[in-house]
């Protein structure tokens, strides 16, 4: 009876621990709303800003957002909101990182 019960609990615990990966590992998390807004959490600063292209530094590498009429909807230490017509979001990961 216990043989079947214990692994189930431990799996659940692991699932729960795995949930906030972005917080524990300081990984970037990008949420995109349609093509009008992108929210980047855990950014490490803006490298370039033009209405056509925004480059953002993250712990993984560079995230590049291209599009038209882009603007910084808001910027705070942990969160960056990009508004505009988003065409492409690309991640150029550094070597050796997950």
């Amino acid at each position: 009876m216990f043989n079947g019960f214990l692994p189930k609990i431990s799996r659940r615990l692991i699932d729960m621990m795995e949930m906030p990966k972005d917080v524990f590992l300081d990984l970037p998390k990008t949420t995109v709303f349609g093509s009008v807004q992108a929210v980047l959490e855990n950014h490490k600063g803006v490298l370039e800003y033009t209405p056509e292209k925004i480059r953002v530094r993250t712990s993984l590498g560079e995230v590049t957002i291209t599009g038209k009429h882009l603007k910084i909807g808001s910027i705070a230490p942990s969160e960056l909101v990009v508004d505009g017509q988003i065409a492409d979001i690309a991640l150029a990961a550094k070597e050796g990182r997950a």
Partner: protein
């Protein structure tokens, strides 16, 4: 997002213009120092605008000085700036204060008085008495003693069982409950008289002395059963006494009653047929003034108008504005001629309807043979229809005692 922009508005923010190349560095430094920027965009190469809180602005300018960027406030948005601007205008502040004082002062007065719960009582009369007691539009609320007003109303208006005066804001409402007044006449002494002229068929006196017999013809108003004091002599016949108690005469008197209707039917008839043309107009009445909206009926053609009032109420408040909808129908007048039989038919139908209106409800009506007469007048040939209807009905009616000398 809405909450954030509301907060920004309440706390106040500025829109700044940044001139220079290193705007990314500005963004990063602001973010690192906990200054949140929003709506940051490029308006032209090398020119940027952004929004930020007032409190953050001074710190940002300090950061910017090191970067060599030119920064300028374009607009100040939010409540703190509005207040600042208002404080700079004494006239405006005075107006706000005056308004507040005015509203406070005016709310201390009675503006409306209404009457509720009346049935047979005239509400105008109640209002008039309330005015006499001091309750009327324009008086100060704190000068009113409600119990005194209630006492005044109770003592001056007969037929009141209860009255209550309540104040709701600037409205005073007088609630009345009427007494149910028992009709004292129902037991007063009196005679039974004929309500209509007719031929007596049956008379059943219950109280009092019958003065007529079956087969008698009586006129309306004639005494049928008397309640006068009386006694019975040795032969058993009733005799009136000089003194005694005047009774309330009662009884049933069935009589044959005739009704007559005379109808003139012109042989040339005019009929109004709607043509289907119609339109609407409105009239607005404010006090004695009237404003008409919409066109008037054209000169040609015959137009019939029908007025309908549109009530304008909001809750229990009746506005002193009256809106009347006027609907116009165009009709065509057509003349047509009836032959004698058709005219007689129309006349009889009209006469029958007229008779039925005169006869009390529930009494069977018998029509006597109709008399039809041809007539010639200046307006053309016409037919006169005379119809008589006959009923047998109770004509007993009790009148009050005649004031005897």
């Amino acid at each position: 997002m809405v909450l954030r922009s509301l907060w920004s508005y309440l706390l106040g923010y500025v829109i700044i213009k940044v001139k220079g190349g290193k705007v990314e560095e500005l963004l990063n430094r602001a973010a690192r120092n906990g200054i949140s920027l929003w709506d940051c965009r490029q308006i032209a190469p090398g020119f940027y605008v952004a929004s930020l809180r007032i409190r953050s602005f001074r710190r940002l300018r300090h950061l910017v000085r090191q970067l060599g960027l030119d920064i300028r406030i374009v607009r100040r948005v939010g409540l703190p700036f509005l207040i600042q601007r208002a404080l700079g205008r004494p006239g405006f502040l005075l107006g706000v204060a005056a308004f507040a004082v005015l509203v406070y002062l005016l709310s201390g007065f009675i503006w409306f008085v209404d009457v509720q719960g009346y049935e047979s009582l005239d509400p105008q009369h109640v209002l008039q008495q309330a005015t006499e007691a001091g309750l009327k539009p324009g008086v100060r609320k704190d000068t009113l003693i409600l119990t005194d007003i209630e006492h005044h109303l109770m003592s001056t208006i007969p037929g009141l069982a209860w009255v209550g005066v309540t104040l709701e804001g600037t409205r005073a409402s007088v609630e009345v409950v009427e007494k149910v007044i028992v009709n004292k006449d129902e037991s007063a002494p009196g005679d039974v008289v004929a309500s209509k002229s007719g031929l007596i068929e049956q008379i059943i006196p219950m109280v009092g002395i019958p003065l007529v017999r079956e087969g008698d013809t009586v006129m309306a108003g004639q005494v049928l059963i008397s309640g006068r004091p009386h006694y019975f002599d040795e032969t058993g016949a009733a005799r009136f006494a000089a003194e005694g108690l005047y009774q309330r005469a009662e009884g049933i008197v069935k009589a044959r009653v005739w009704y007559e209707a005379k109808v003139d039917v012109p042989l040339t008839q005019v009929e109004e047929v709607p043509t289907g043309q119609k339109f609407r107009a409105f009239r607005i009445t404010i006090g004695d003034r009237q404003v008409r909206l919409g066109r008037k009926p054209p000169q040609q053609g015959v137009w019939i108008e029908q007025e309908k009032e549109i009530p304008i109420v909001w809750g229990q408040t009746q506005f002193p504005v009256q809106v009347t909808e006027i609907e116009y129908f165009e009709v065509e007048r057509r003349e047509y001629t009836l032959d004698r039989d058709e005219a007689a038919e129309v006349g009889i139908a009209e006469a029958e309807a007229a008779l039925k209106q005169q006869v009390p409800e529930g009494v069977p009506l018998k029509f006597l043979p109709v008399e039809i007469e041809d007539m010639d007048s200046s307006e053309g040939q016409r037919l006169q229809v005379l119809l008589v209807g006959e009923t047998v009905e109770n004509i007993a009616q009790i009148t009050k005692i005649p004031q005897e000398p």
